[in-house]
């Protein structure tokens, strides 16, 4: 007969197999099981009997895992993995659907480029419509994966149709001419090209969530999906870049004109990669879950040092002199990365763990980022005061105010979380309620800004 310890170990390992239940939870459940066995043993049951009764009372392990999966659907998307029953067939189907949509998007991009006279002439309408050549396919991929009803599919198509009509009917100023084809294009048109993908990306939340926007936890899934998608996309881009670079290096000497091929492969692959990355996030969830915390661990201290040094440098030299459009873009990218790092590290945190050194490092990074952003905002306001509003300045000001408010809120809730006065739930709530703000601002830049500045 096996010993009680061996039986408990076996029960434990069976429970651990399920990805929805993590180590701490298994510890707690084992603790319960042991208490129950001890109590039962005092009433005269043998170890074996006590074990059986205790396990029976614990309930079906599948049900238990499902309950945990539901509870953690937010953090771990285990509803995909949680229903272990039909996982394998699902993955292969998903791959076929993903590849179909990725190829369709790549073809759409290639055809549109062909029509636009690429690569001799890079028409501005091509740039403006870039988001519309890719993201409808992502939306469609989600719609098929989530098995939306016909009505829901129509709803998910609305933003794309409206955007397509609107941005192509607006009469952007054409500052280019026959003699001077590379003149400054319309500023509002460029802003539309930059902001439309954001609007359309957030529109993809609807099919991604299976047509249900009411659940706040599921909305947080979408925020996380965005971050994890970004990591996969960067990895794919790096791999693709190495591949193309080596291809060129090997075939150019043999007289093959690789460059003119790459010109076509690159945009099509960049489009298809969007959907492949989305599929990877879903199907290789465990990989990214292991990767994101490691990346955060490595880069949070490095970014913290960099941010603190930059904050000191600009505090000493003043930001006014170096301030221009490019630097502004760099700052905005930096702030978005900091926001991403904070969200990753906090969502990967064990809620009941005491604050660690890493948490403090991260708070220092956020504080430095806030100081930098305050300086950027100050410089921008001075500039606008001197020179007045242009579409670019208004758009940049809006973006920075939004980032500043978001980071401040993130810092506030992080401090409360780390000092144990609040839970991650509150921070999640803050980010979720910010999603519509981002969407509304980007939509305003696409819809209201161009007529406001008479399409200049």
């Amino acid at each position: 007969m096996r010993s009680l310890e061996a039986q408990i170990a076996e029960w434990r390992s069976f429970l651990t197999q399920n990805p929805a239940v993590d180590g701490h939870e298994v510890d707690e459940l084992e603790n319960h099981l042991r208490s129950q066995i001890t109590d039962l043993a005092t009433t005269g049951l043998s170890d074996d009997e006590a074990f059986l009764v205790a396990v029976k009372r614990m309930g079906s392990l599948d049900d238990l895992a499902d309950a945990y999966a539901q509870e953690y659907s937010g953090r771990l998307w285990k509803q995909i993995v949680g229903s272990t029953r039909d996982r394998t067939t699902d993955a292969t189907d998903g791959r076929l659907i993903a590849v179909t949509f990725a190829v369709a998007s790549a073809i759409a991009v290639a055809l549109t480029l062909l029509v636009g006279g690429y690569p001799d002439y890079e028409a501005s309408w091509l740039v403006r419509n870039a988001g519309l050549l890719v993201l409808p396919f992502l939306s469609g991929y989600f719609a098929v994966r989530q098995q939306l009803s016909a009505q829901q599919m129509l709803v998910s198509a609305i933003p794309f149709v409206v955007a397509a009509v609107l941005i192509n009917l607006y009469p952007y100023a054409d500052n280019t001419s026959e003699d001077f084809p590379y003149g400054e294009g319309s500023a509002t048109e460029l802003l539309v090209a930059l902001h439309l993908p954001v609007v359309l990306w957030i529109a993809c939340a609807y099919p991604y969530l299976g047509g249900d926007l009411k659940s706040r936890e599921r909305l947080m899934d979408f925020v996380r999906f965005t971050g994890e998608w970004f990591i996969y996309y960067v990895l794919l881009a790096l791999g693709g870049g190495v591949l193309l670079g080596l291809t060129a290096a090997i075939l150019e000497p043999a007289g093959v004109d690789v460059e003119s091929i790459i010109e076509w492969v690159l945009p099509a692959a960049a489009a298809g990669g969007v959907i492949v990355a989305a599929w990877l996030v879903e199907s290789k969830q465990a990989v990214i879950e292991n990767m994101a915390p490691v990346l955060t661990m490595v880069f949070t201290p490095l970014f913290a040092v960099m941010l603190i040094v930059s904050a000191i440098v600009y505090a000493v030299t003043g930001i006014g002199a170096a301030f221009d459009r490019e630097l502004l873009g760099v700052f905005d990218a930096l702030l978005i990365v900091v926001l991403g790092l904070v969200l990753y590290s906090i969502s990967a945190r064990e809620p009941s763990a005491p604050p660690t050194l890493m948490d403090r490092v991260q708070m220092a990074a956020v504080a430095a980022a806030l100081i930098l952003d305050a300086m950027v905002l100050g410089a921008m306001i001075v500039r606008i005061g001197d020179l007045g509003f242009t579409p670019n300045r208004l758009a940049a000001l809006g973006l920075n105010i939004m980032l500043f408010v978001n980071l401040s809120g993130t810092a506030w809730y992080s401090v409360r979380l780390l000092t144990g006065r609040d839970t991650f739930h509150r921070l999640e709530g803050w980010q979720i309620s910010y999603l519509p703000v981002f969407a509304a601002w980007a939509a305003a830049v696409v819809i209201i800004l161009p007529p406001l500045f008479s399409f200049e």
Binding site: E25, D27, E28, L29, N31, H32, R34, S35, Q36, R57, M58, G59, S60, L61, D63, L64, A67, Y68, Q70, E71, Y72, G74, P351, S352, G420, D422, T423, F424, H425, R426
Partner: protein, 128 residues
């Protein structure tokens, strides 16, 4: 022992068990911080064993309360005994409990009002 065999187990509807779980756990934690196994024992004690949960289900519930900020938790080893994960109610947990209480009182008031003159309460309790 013999008595127990004769008492008909009162089956409580699954939805009702689920609906009452949160206020029950929160109310037990108001009595003082506690760990999972003892919370379950308290539930059985309070309901004379009629409210019998599947043990495992308590833990996902506790984790939900934790995420909602209604409880806090920490692993601790009492002077004698094994290391356990203790849960304590927070202020927002108390507020949530108050709201649950308000709702349950409304429901039970309405039910007792409408059932006051019914005689079926006799046969429901009569055989017990």
């Amino acid at each position: 022992m013999i008595d127990q065999g004769m008492v008909r187990t009162v089956q409580i509807d699954k939805d009702l068990v689920a609906a009452s779980a949160t206020p029950l756990v929160l109310a037990i934690l108001v009595e003082g911080e506690n760990y999972g196994y003892a919370i379950l024992k308290r539930v059985r004690e309070l309901s004379n064993g009629k409210l019998d949960w599947t043990d495992g289900m308590l833990y996902p519930l506790l984790h939900r309360l934790l995420r909602l900020g209604y409880v806090t938790t920490e692993w601790r080893t009492p002077p004698e005994g094994r290391r356990r994960k203790y849960y304590a109610i927070t202020d927002s947990g108390r507020a949530a409990l108050k709201e649950h209480h308000r709702q349950w009182v409304t429901v039970t008031d309405a039910l007792s009002e409408v059932w006051r003159d019914s005689d079926f309460s006799d046969f429901a309790l009569g055989n017990a």
